[in-house]
Symmetry: C2
Subunit: 375 residues, 2 copies
């Protein structure tokens, strides 16, 4: 093992609070440590963005087990954590830390660890008398409710996405392909500081808009085109996620009908959002309206999802989620209507759940008039 | 469960061959089915690129269990597979398929499935008397050796990356930031048809080049800059991965020394590459040369890795890999020297392993003169 000399730096905010939360959990669950194996959970707890490694949080220390490639980055991003440079496999290096600190019970999160890694860890830890215990994902739970610093970052990720979209929208020309537009949108987000798109940008013309996760292809902008944009900016680790329609020169009558239904469903759901409300009920508000208008079979996905370090994170806003909205959650609301072969409409905004209702973080116009672009 | 009517379409090449391979494995391992849980493995076996789902291959059928969002895409990409639209969770839908087909033993790949999913599947399958058996990853093994169609796609992914780089290189100006250049490079790859970069593009100026996975930031191009580019294009699911240095107007003496060592190490390793050679020995050729020249401590990562649907896939070319190179593998060779605070040099090319040696798929010049750019 190759330990860099430990600088005793105080843990800065917001990591100090997050660690405190995890350590309260360690006490409650009678654990000597928690293994944090998912990248986004690691970033949340430590700020370390290296692409390979494992984090072990104990009552006194936070260990970053990673490799040569990320040593310097770790020193910059989390100088208060102990970087353990692995020469062999992670299990072997972990065993050394566990032995030195005499850790008896270590929590692992079953949906964040592979069966193979679980086996490997047990193999090296069992001889030390150390037990791996399945625990709930405290870090993921923590991530659901955003603190003000996180919301400030998400606001900026939304601002970048919106400004980039407006720039691309101004430059749309007949004959451009879906691919051109998606590439241009990614570029405009990058120019405004995005590390990249939040997810592969969707630009779907005409019948392609019926595919909720369409890949941009060779379909071109023409008079009468209905184009669905679903995009977001990745900024300082956080992600925005928006959907808007653009109609070129005229709005095909079926799209006009779908748009009115989707927008009203979205607005009803947004008005219903508030801390304490049942998530399944928010979904139902939008879904039942769409069904009433005869499109129930055309809206097959969840109404929305949590948004943060991951583009899809808890809570999922679907008909089976019996939990309640909590103050601080950042969620999307994105109903849609999809008619295979004909096309689809989706409208998506990002919301911050508060005790008094929803603060809508995204601010692009939603009305049909604005969606019409005259070339 | 919601089954779309099954169209009996013949399985097209290359999926027919891959399926045959998997079915031979089913027979040998006395399995009634194999669960394919990783995205890239699913793409390899079926062509289905939907972002959510699980694949079950049996002796007679291939089932795609996914959701509403990907139904239409599945019909386009793998019309010969049976699409099972899940309404509830995947385990429940899987149980129905298992019961209907009376499958007794199903293989799962332990490093491709989470502990939580493993538990969920056992919970629904145990009452049916069905056993989950841990098996080696046949699909991943299959993926190591590329067929000619795959190599043709990778060649194209390399071509896109190279042309985009040349375009950006021509347009480098003093004062541009690392971020500008990375964003521009992504855009130029997109213009040439890339679905995106293979991985977050690295552009690292000066001391940042000492970080093997640097994030592009605000450092600017100036006279005397040493700039490391590590980038690749993602095309039709496959990825290229290249690294080149650009020196602006002059080459700092330490970079000149490092460059000569890295280039010679790379060339020695490339000349050694051939089907049948020990992987660890290829690594040693480059590593021992770098060590001889006094930089042993400055080259801390693996010499290279397999390249395909994932940007890092087996085999890893490191000092611990006792396996042998096989004809058909596509690998990177990318030695480097990194001096924290001062800078680093890496040179990376993509190779196709053949019985007679390596075919170098990438063709950008590697000599130091070319790396010098006069503005």
């Amino acid at each position: 093992m190759n330990r860099t000399p430990h600088r005793s730096v105080e843990v800065p905010s917001p990591f100090a609070e997050r660690l405190r939360h995890v350590r309260e959990f360690l006490v409650k669950a009678r654990l000597d440590g928690l293994l944090v194996t998912s990248r986004a959970d690691q970033v949340h707890l430590t700020g370390f963005t290296g692409e390979d490694g494992i984090v072990l949080a104990t009552a006194k220390e936070v260990y970053l087990l990673s490799d040569f490639r990320f040593r310097e980055v770790a020193g910059q991003e989390a100088p208060w954590a102990r970087f353990v440079m692995r020469k062999k496999g992670i299990p072997e290096e972990l065993a050394k830390v566990v032995r030195r600190n005499r850790l008896g019970r270590i929590g692992v999160i079953p949906d964040r660890i592979t069966v193979a890694t679980g086996k490997d860890l047990r193999r090296v830890l069992a001889p030390l008398g150390t037990r791996l215990v399945h625990v709930r994902n405290v870090v993921s739970e923590l991530r659901m409710k955003k603190d003000v610093e996180e919301v400030a970052i998400i606001r900026q990720a939304i601002r970048i996405a919106q400004e980039a979209f407006l720039a691309v929208r101004r430059s749309i020309r007949l004959g451009q392909t879906e691919r051109d537009l998606a590439n241009r949108l990614n570029y405009e987000m990058g120019r405004r500081g995005a590390s990249g798109p939040s997810f592969p940008t969707v630009v779907a013309e005409g019948p392609n808009s019926a595919l909720p996760h369409a890949k941009p292809g060779g379909r071109v902008v023409r008079r009468g085109s209905a184009i669905l944009f679903d995009w977001g900016a990745w900024w300082q680790g956080y992600r925005s996620d928006l959907t808007r329609m653009v109609f070129i020169d005229r709005i095909p009558p079926q799209f006009r009908r779908w748009y009115a239904v989707v927008l009203e469903a979205q607005q009803r759901a947004i008005r219903w959002v508030r801390a304490g409300r049942s998530i399944r009920q928010v979904d139902r508000i939008a879904r039942s309206y769409i069904a009433e208008r005869g499109y129930g079979e055309r809206f097959g996905h969840a109404l929305g999802h949590g948004l943060g370090l991951d583009v899809h994170e808890p809570p999922s806003l679907n008909a089976r989620n019996g939990a309640r909205l909590e103050s601080g959650m950042v969620i999307t609301i994105e109903p849609g209507i999809y008619v295979p072969g004909a096309g689809g409409v989706r409208i998506e905004d990002d919301l911050w759940v508060r005790d008094t209702g929803a603060e809508i973080l995204s601010s692009l116009p939603r009305d049909l008039d604005w969606a019409l672009l005259r070339l």
